[in-house]
């Protein structure tokens, strides 16, 4: 199945940027078929959006190519 990564599959928010798609892959698995926006992802995982933003920063600093 083609990945639906253009909009949030829960609230429909679009477009989703590269970092949002990257963190979905990191936190939901590389085989994830759809993406959540940061708000929906935080709610889904039971954490704060800021925690996810901190994670994105760390991945970027590590040089992970999923992020820009």
């Amino acid at each position: 199945m083609k990945k639906n990564i253009k909009n949030c599959s829960l609230c429909g928010k679009s477009p989703l940027d590269k970092n949002t798609v990257g963190i979905n892959i990191k936190l939901r698995g590389e085989n994830v078929e759809d993406c959540f926006c940061l708000d929906c992802l935080a709610e889904n995982l039971g954490c704060d959006v800021q925690d996810i933003l901190d994670k994105i920063e760390e991945f970027k600093n590590e040089g992970c190519k999923l992020f820009s």
Partner: protein, 538 residues
């Protein structure tokens, strides 16, 4: 550390003991003299250095002049390997060592030193059958870690050192994960050299020590002053040395209690995971450091689990890591030939003496919620079930492996019939409905059944006596079996079945194993065959 953080990565590092911190403070403040200076201002510092060396030596059964302070485990390990390289000796090691051994050995090999690796079993045990043949005259160095940092397996150090010494060679062990966690006596184990690091046993970071047996002349690590008996020059880090000694003494004094505590936490966590109905594979050997729990989840990525646990305030480690290009699987998981899919889904939970029961429960709850199968709309039913089947097979294989590895009688050094007969008893009791739950009582009916099976399968001339309490207690070395004493009672063998029944609230096996023994005919047949095969060998 914030209050809502659960630190479960004690194999990576441990929190500093408050006692150690208190002991260190004077040497970070007023008592800053250089221990090498002869004036009175340094007297207390010199004394602290001497006493710390004595205390540390005492903890491992060594003499003070056999203890050399270093900056930690990596420095110590490099010193030993580089020393062997300077002597041009062959180096024999295992593929599951820490990188501070492996990379140093790789360098030695690159400059022409003869290097060989001992094979490792799928449970992470270094096999010593080929050791004697790998040792070359006049001298070789064997370096095998005491406890593996990823899967916790405890190596047969005394056996390895015995074989090494029979060939007149030297034996070193990287005991970084062992010192302060297991009872250790370098003389009893006949160890020539040993490496330790303070921050693994609630001491400060940046300090460790190497034990070198008296009489072994090892090359210098750092040339300069006369510190560390002239082998490692440089002004001593007194505060850290004092903190290390304090932390080690504290841990060693409470070692039995700490082991029981970690084993209890481990049991609670595993039991909770089993009760949640999730599927996982437990890695490592029955003989492992209590508290180190390596788990693999098929269909999940370890790195994903690590980050999601982190978001829930739970700190663990993973057996795989993503660099900028691809997922890297740890050298240990590769060496034990773990299935790649499972290796990718591996995490390490390492509990320490400061973790609590509530934390163990919370870790299990967060983890099981995370890995509970939640089929996505895009996931086909077929794919889902094929994953389930794969997990079930892995689980069964894990049990078969444990059954096959039932340990031997320490007295006779051969397989004893107690555990196989006891397992056959449990199987029969489950099949007959005498045991109807994974948690059950120790009863007279169970004892009678055990005696019946014993008399049927064990020769009357056997040197062993049919005492059910023995396996009922010692099967706790298996990861699937636990016994719970009544509050206030101690866990021990209790020779009579009546005393055993009175002192234990219940016996428990993994719920998954119970269901397999109750419902899965093929699993029961295979398991029985394993136990009967063991009995035939006796």
């Amino acid at each position: 550390m914030s209050n809502n953080v659960i630190y479960a990565d004690n194999a990576a590092t441990t929190p500093l003991s408050p006692k150690a911190l208190e002991a260190m403070l004077p040497f970070l403040q007023n008592q800053y003299g250089n221990a090498s200076q002869p004036y009175s201002f340094s007297r207390s510092v010199r004394k602290a250095l001497m006493v710390s060396r004595e205390r540390i030596a005492d903890c491992i059964g060594a003499s003070p002049n056999e203890i050399y302070f270093t900056s930690g485990g990596s420095e110590g390990n490099n010193w030993i390997i580089n020393g062997a390289t300077q002597f041009q000796t062959k180096i024999v090691t295992s593929p599951i060592e820490h990188h501070s051994i492996l990379r140093a050995v790789e360098y030695s090999k690159s400059i022409g030193i003869d290097v060989s690796y001992l094979p490792t079993s799928s449970t992470g045990m270094v096999e010593n059958d080929t050791l004697a043949g790998q040792l070359s005259q006049p001298l070789s160095l064997v370096s095998v870690m005491f406890v593996n940092n990823e899967i916790g397996s405890i190596q047969k150090i005394s056996e390895l050192s015995r074989v090494t010494h029979e060939r007149g060679c030297l034996f070193h062990t990287d005991a970084v994960q062992c010192v302060g966690h297991l009872e250790l006596d370098v003389k009893a184990l006949d160890i020539d050299m040993l490496t330790a690091s303070a921050h693994k046993f609630n001491g400060p970071k940046g300090i460790g020590f190497v034990y070198i047996k008296k009489g072994i002349k090892w090359p210098n690590l750092i040339y300069g002053g006369s510190q560390e008996f002239g082998l490692r020059a440089g002004t001593e880090n007194i505060a850290s040395i004092v903190g290390m000694a304090e932390a080690l003494v504290e841990n060693v004094l409470n070692i039995g209690e700490n082991i029981r505590h970690c084993r209890n936490l481990e049991s609670i966590l595993i039991n909770r995971l089993d009760s949640s109905g999730i599927s996982y594979v437990r890695n490592g050997d029955m003989s492992h450091l209590p508290g180190i729990i390596s788990l693999s989840f098929d269909g999940f990525e370890g790195e994903m689990l690590l980050h999601r646990l982190d978001l829930m305030g739970v700190m663990v480690s993973t057996g795989s890591a993503c660099d900028s290009k691809e997922l890297q699987i740890s050298h240990v998981l590769k060496a034990i030939k773990m299935d790649e899919t499972l290796a990718k889904g591996t995490i390490r939970i390492s509990l320490g003496r400061l973790n609590t029961v509530e934390e163990a429960i919370r870790i299990a709850d967060v983890l099981s919620k995370m890995v509970k199968p939640q089929p996505q709309a895009s996931e086909s039913v077929q794919a889902y079930y094929s994953r389930e089947e794969k997990i079930e097979k892995a689980l069964k294989d894990r049990y078969y492996k444990e059954f096959n590895n039932f340990n031997v009688s320490k007295m006779y050094r051969s397989a004893a019939p107690h555990k196989p007969v006891y397992m056959l008893t449990l199987i029969e009791a489950i099949r007959r409905g005498i045991i109807s739950d994974h948690r059950f009582q120790f009863t007279q009916e169970l004892t009678d059944l055990f005696n019946q099976i014993w008399s049927k399968l064990v020769s009357p001339s056997s040197r062993y006596t049919p005492r059910i309490t023995r396996p009922a207690f010692y099967l706790t070395t298996s990861s699937f079996y636990r016994i719970k004493p009544w509050e206030g009672n101690i866990a021990k063998e209790w020779h009579s079945p009546k005393s055993f029944a009175a002192n234990y609230e219940y016996i428990e096996i993994d719920n998954t194993l119970f269901k397999l023994l109750r419902d899965d005919e093929a699993f029961v047949i295979n398991s029985k065959e394993i136990f009967l095969h063991i009995l035939q060998r006796i």
